[in-house]
Symmetry: C2
Subunit: 399 residues, 2 copies
C-alpha cells in the first residue's frame, strides 16, 4: 500500500526551500528555510528537557495557533542556555521571516542545533532572511537538508506515497542527527510534510504516535538534547477531503514508515559507530514492558562495548534485562544472539556453537531477540556500538 519514493520534502506540493551560509559553523551552509505557499496546518513534538532551548520555547508558543508559513533552521548554535536574551533573539528571527512573508510571527517556527551557551550571531541571520525568502524554490530542498547538519556525514531525507479511497497522498521529510557521535549537538531535528488535508490536533495525535514508535526507539547516546524538535506540516494541496476513518489508518502507517526511515538513517550515521544492533523484546505483557527492557539493553555500556568488540557476550544482555527491573519469569526467558539460541527457558544453551556465534556477532548488524513468553506485546529498539572513536571524538571536541 505504501510506496517508498526517492526524495524528501521536494515531493510534497505546496512547499519551497532555500539555504545559505551566514558563518555560524566553521564552514558550509548553516541557515535553512522551508516556506509554504499558503499557511499549512502544523503540529510539533519537542524535547522533554526541563531546560529547553529558546527556539523550542518560542515554537511551542507559536504552535498554539496550529498554522505555519515557514520553518527557519540554523545549525552551529543551539541557542540553548542563553536565557531571556536568547529568547529575544529567537523571536527576532521569527519576526524577520514573518515581515518578509507578510504573515503573523506565530506562523513562523524555529529550530536550532549546535553549541550550547553562546548567543546567536543575530545580525548576519537577520540580514540573510530576505534573500532566503526570495530564493526559496522547488529546487532548494537539497541545500536545506545539508544546511541543518552538524556532525552528520550526510543529509537524511525520505518520502512515501500511498493511495486510499481513490486518492493518492504523499509524505516527505528531512532530518538531522548523528548516531552515537555528537558532541554537544546530539540534537535530533526533523521537518515532515504531507499534501493531505488535516487539522492541527489531528496531526499532533498522529505525530506523537509515530515519534513514539520510531525516533523514540533509537538510542543515540541516551542523552536528551535541549533542542530536539519534530514538525509535521499538512499543506492540503491534494484537494482531497480531510483525513478520517480508513484514510486515517493509511496515513498513520505512512507517517510511521517515513519516520522509521529517517530514524534508521540517524542511527546509521554515527561516525564513531561501527556496528548496529536491533534489540527486540517479544511476547511481553505490554508494549511498555517490552520497550523498557529493550532500552535497558540498548543503553547498557557493557553491551555496547561488547558489540563494538564483536563479542557475543550474552551475559551482558541478561544482566541488562534484569536491570530493567520488570517483573518477568526467569524460567521462561529465551535469548537469541545474532540468530543463535544462547539461553532457553532460564538456562544457558548447552553445546553452544561458539565459533558460529562469534562469527555472526561480527556482522554489520546484529539482532538480539529477548522472548519473555508472557504475552503478545513486542518492541524493537535500534542502537549502535560504543567505540573507541566515539570517546576520542567527544573527549577532544573543544569548548
Amino acid at each position: 500500500m505504501i510506496r517508498t519514493l526517492e526524495g524528501g520534502l521536494d515531493l510534497v506540493e505546496g512547499l519551497r526551500a532555500s539555504a545559505c551560509r551566514v558563518g555560524i559553523k566553521a564552514q558550509g551552509l548553516d541557515l535553512a528555510l522551508v516556506v509554504c505557499d499558503e499557511a499549512a496546518s502544523v503540529a510539533g513534538v519537542f524535547t522533554t528537557s526541563s531546560l529547553p532551548a529558546a527556539p523550542v520555547v518560542v515554537s511551542r508558543k507559536h504552535l498554539v495557533q496550529g498554522r505555519c508559513r515557514a520553518v527557519l533552521i540554523n545549525s552551529g548554535n543551539a541557542n540553548a542556555g542563553t536565557g531571556p536574551p536568547g529568547e529575544q533573539d529567537a523571536r527576532a528571527c521569527a519576526q524577520a521571516v514573518a515581515e518578509v512573508l507578510g504573515c503573523p510571527a506565530q506562523e513562523v517556527l524555529l529550530m536550532s542545533t549546535g553549541l550550547i551557551g553562546v548567543r546567536l550571531p543575530l545580525e548576519p541571520i537577520l540580514e540573510a532572511i530576505p534573500g532566503l525568502v526570495a530564493s526559496a524554490s522547488a529546487e532548494g530542498f537539497q541545500a536545506a537538508a545539508e544546511a541543518i547538519l552538524t556532525t552528520d556525514t550526510r543529509p537524511k531525507t525520505a518520502a512515501v506515497e500511498w493511495s486510499t479511497g481513490g486518492q493518492t497522498f504523499r509524505l516527505g521529510g528531512m532530518a538531522k542527527g548523528a548516531g552515537m557521535i555528537a558532541p554537544h549537538m546530539a540534537t535530533m531535528l526533523a521537518v515532515l510534510a504531507t499534501d493531505a488535508r488535516a487539522d492541527s490536533p489531528y496531526l499532533e495525535d498522529a505525530l506523537r504516535r509515530a515519534v513514539e514508535r520510531t525516533f523514540n526507539r533509537i538510542t543515540v547516546d541516551g542523552d536528551l538534547s535541549t533542542n530536539d524538535s519534530v514538525f509535521l506540516l499538512a499543506t492540503g494541496k491534494s484537494q482531497a477531503p480531510a483525513l478520517e476513518g480508513s484514510a486515517s489508518q493509511a496515513f498513520f502507517e505512512a507517517l510511521e514508515e517515513l519516520c522509521r526511515s529517517l530514524a534508521r538513517q540517524i542511527v546509521l550515521d554515527g561516525e564513531g559507530s561501527t556496528r548496529l544492533a536491533s534489540i527486540t523484546v517479544a511476547r511481553a505483557e505490554s508494549e511498555a514492558q517490552a520497550l523498557k527492557i529493550a532500552q535497558s539493553v540498548a543503553r547498557s555500556l557493557l553491551f555496547k562495548t561488547a558489540l563494538f568488540g564483536g563479542d557475543p557476550n550474552w551475559g551482558r544482555v541478561l544482566a541488562a534485562v534484569g536491570a530493567a527491573r520488570e517483573t518477568i519469569d526467569p524460567e521462561k526467558l529465551d535469548i537469541t544472539y545474532a540468530g543463535v539460541p544462547v539461553f532457553r527457558s532460564g538456562r544457558p544453551v548447552e553445546d553452544l556453537p561458539l565459533d558460529e556465534l562469534r562469527q555472526k556477532a561480527q556482522a554489520q548488524e546484529v539482532s538480539i531477540l529477548i522472548d519473555l513468553q508472557m504475552g503478545s506485546a513486542e518492541a524493537t529498539v535500534l542502537t549502535t556500538d560504543l567505540s573507541v572513536e566515539y570517546v576520542r571524538f567527544n573527549a577532544h571536541y573543544t569548548t
Copy 2:
C-alpha cells in the same frame, strides 16, 4: 566523634577469615570465608535486578532468620543466569559450610562475582570448604579481601571507631567493585561488621539508609549487576546494651562513614578511568530531586567523555540537568565547573576565564556544583570519566 582506623573486618571482635584458590579464576585466590565465633545478627541489601543470581536468591531466603555464622564468597563466576541448577549449587555450598560449622544452613550467606551463564565448579569448592573453615583466623582478612576481587586492582577495606555513652564501638568492612571498568563483573560486594549489639531489623534499617547515601551514589557504568550484595553483621562482642537513642545516631553516622570510604575506593579503582568527578546539586526542593539531577549528569556519556578529555564543556552539564526532566526554574540556575562560575541565574557568565577553567578541568578530581536556588536539599554523586581504555577493555574481554 568518629575515628578512622587502619584496617577492616579484622578490627571487629568475634570474626575470623580465610581464603584459598580453587581454580575458578585464571589465577589468584578465588574463595573466601568470613566466620563468626557465635551467630551474629545480620541484614542484607541486594541488587534490584529482576534476574538476581543464585547466591542472591538463596541468601535472601536465609536472611529471613536474621542470623549468620559465615559468609562464603567466590570470585570468577557469578552463578547468574544458571537457572534452578545454579540455585542447587548455591544451596550445596551453604550446606557444606553449615555441616562443618555445625550450624543450620540458613546461617550461611553467599556472594558470587564473575562470569554470567556458567555453572560453578562445585566439586573443588566443596572440597575446599573444610580447610577454609579450619584455617579461618584473625590473620585471614587480608587474603579474604583479595580473594573477592575480579578486575579490581587492589583490595578495599575500611574501619571506624566511635564512642557514645562511655562505650567504644567499631565497624569494619571489605568490598569489591571496580569503577568504570568491569566486564561482566560490574558487581559490587561488601561485607560489613560491628561489635555493637543490634537485632536484624535494626541493622536492615541502618544498612538501607547508609547504602542509599553511599554505594547508591557512585555511578560505575550505570549497569545494575545480577549479584550486587551488601551484608552487615553485628557480633555484639562489645557487651554494651543494644543500640538505641543517641547511640543509634552515632552508629548511623559511623556506618555511613564506613560505606562512604568503601564506595570512594570503588570509584577510584576504575582501571580505565583517568579522572573523578563529584557532582553536587544544592538548594533543591528535595533530596530525591537533587539526586535525580546529579545522576543524570553523572551518567551522561557526553559529560563523561568531556571529563576524560579535560574539556570544561559546561553545556553538556546543562543539557544533562535538563534531561533529568525535573521541574526547575531556569532563571535561578547556577553552574560552577571546577570552582569556576560558568552559568549564573540562567545565563552564561560573561568574560569567562577560559584559560583558568581549562586548566582546572584537567585536575585529577573535578567538582561540579549545580545550584537550583529552590530549597535546602542537597545530594552528591561520584563518577569517573569514560575513557578510550574503558571501551578497549570491555570490547575485547572475551566471552
